[in-house]
Symmetry: C2
Subunit: 228 residues, 2 copies
Amino acid sequence: MAGRKATGSPGVTRENLADAALLLLEREGPKGLSMRKVAAEVGVQAASLYWHIRNKEELLDLASDALWEGYTPLPPGRTATADTWRDCLATASRRLRTHLLTHAGAVRVLAGRFAPGTRSPGPMEEMLALLRRAGFGPADTADAAYTLLTWVQGFVLHEAVPMSAAEEHGASPQEAAAEARERLAGLPADRYPHLVELAGELSGPGMDSRFEFGLARLLDGLEVLRGR
Amino acid sequence: MAGRKATGSPGVTRENLADAALLLLEREGPKGLSMRKVAAEVGVQAASLYWHIRNKEELLDLASDALWEGYTPLPPGRTATADTWRDCLATASRRLRTHLLTHAGAVRVLAGRFAPGTRSPGPMEEMLALLRRAGFGPADTADAAYTLLTWVQGFVLHEAVPMSAAEEHGASPQEAAAEARERLAGLPADRYPHLVELAGELSGPGMDSRFEFGLARLLDGLEVLRGR
DNA sequence: ACCTGAACACCGTTCAAGT
DNA sequence: ACCTGAACACCGTTCAAGT
């Protein structure tokens, strides 16, 4: 009985196992996730898990589904006028990043496990809807949504991994950024002149503005396509 | 003596261990990489590895360095005229994708381990050089390079993982694509109307054209910024 | 300086056996 | 239908001991 999770319905269900896996991933990192611990988390022996799931691989798939649980697309909100499609896509992208960052500890392990659309349809469906409403054709819509999702996930991956690595190492984000800068600045200047020169710009902790930069470029690019 | 790798210099060096790890990763997948197997690969006992490296974590870091070994930036080639910076960036991005796909089996494990620039400076330095030569300022150059690298890696991650998963499962790319399409088309059409409608577009095996789409948008966006 | 053997605590997974 | 105990083959890592 001890260790049964408070949230969700009580039994040993696939959902509860996924939640427990996700929780362990975020609380203790990659090494914290083992069948035995997941089992303990739901108050059962490790061998019992195999009645509900095929293997650890499947458990990770379930966990990557569970990661999207709290993500709900924006309410339709104000009606879409011609000049707000850009803002809508921007908001959706920002919310996507925020949501992934919420689960930063799990992103590294689960990255690449959620193919856009197939595994957890929510975010992809939202992007597709916004793009179609903006007037993009079917093919462009699919490609654009894929580009957006793929970029956000790549961005967050590079954002979340050092974050959780630094905090695992017991360093503050500032310390981690300073350390990164020094590593860059310490490279051989003859082989990597630009890295050395731009060490400050590259290692700054301004992830928000970096995200906004990429987002603006992507949306500008879509605007160019749309106006063609 | 049996099992010593043919390539590279013979001793048990950190480089050789990294190469062996990378090789195992690509040949046998994530489960194929263990300290004991790496040790066997270089003809030594598992415990010996700890004389050369701190732990498995460090070995993976070394392997993610080794992944970039074969990657050399384009020779300066023709002198940069004002209208070729776009082509240069496009070529660099494509080469980056190709190189990562060459190590598709290792990408999943190593993803997020190579922060752009810090770990393996080659690709980042190349991007920075091209962007500066194109006339972008320091801040924009740093942000643009980060965006490009981050997107390529996100893209390849989503491209490589299903690839290696499908082949591990013994399915052809076409079969995998067909399976993905059916999963999308089988979603509840009331909740995911666009996913169902665009199932064909989303799951097509045309990864090359999808990549070109994203690349074109990104470069268009940079062009807008540059012309401002 | 570099390697080994043996050991420790821990894995994922299976399977007969229980209820 | 669901869970357990015990077992199997395998981990990462440490450490005294060898040369």
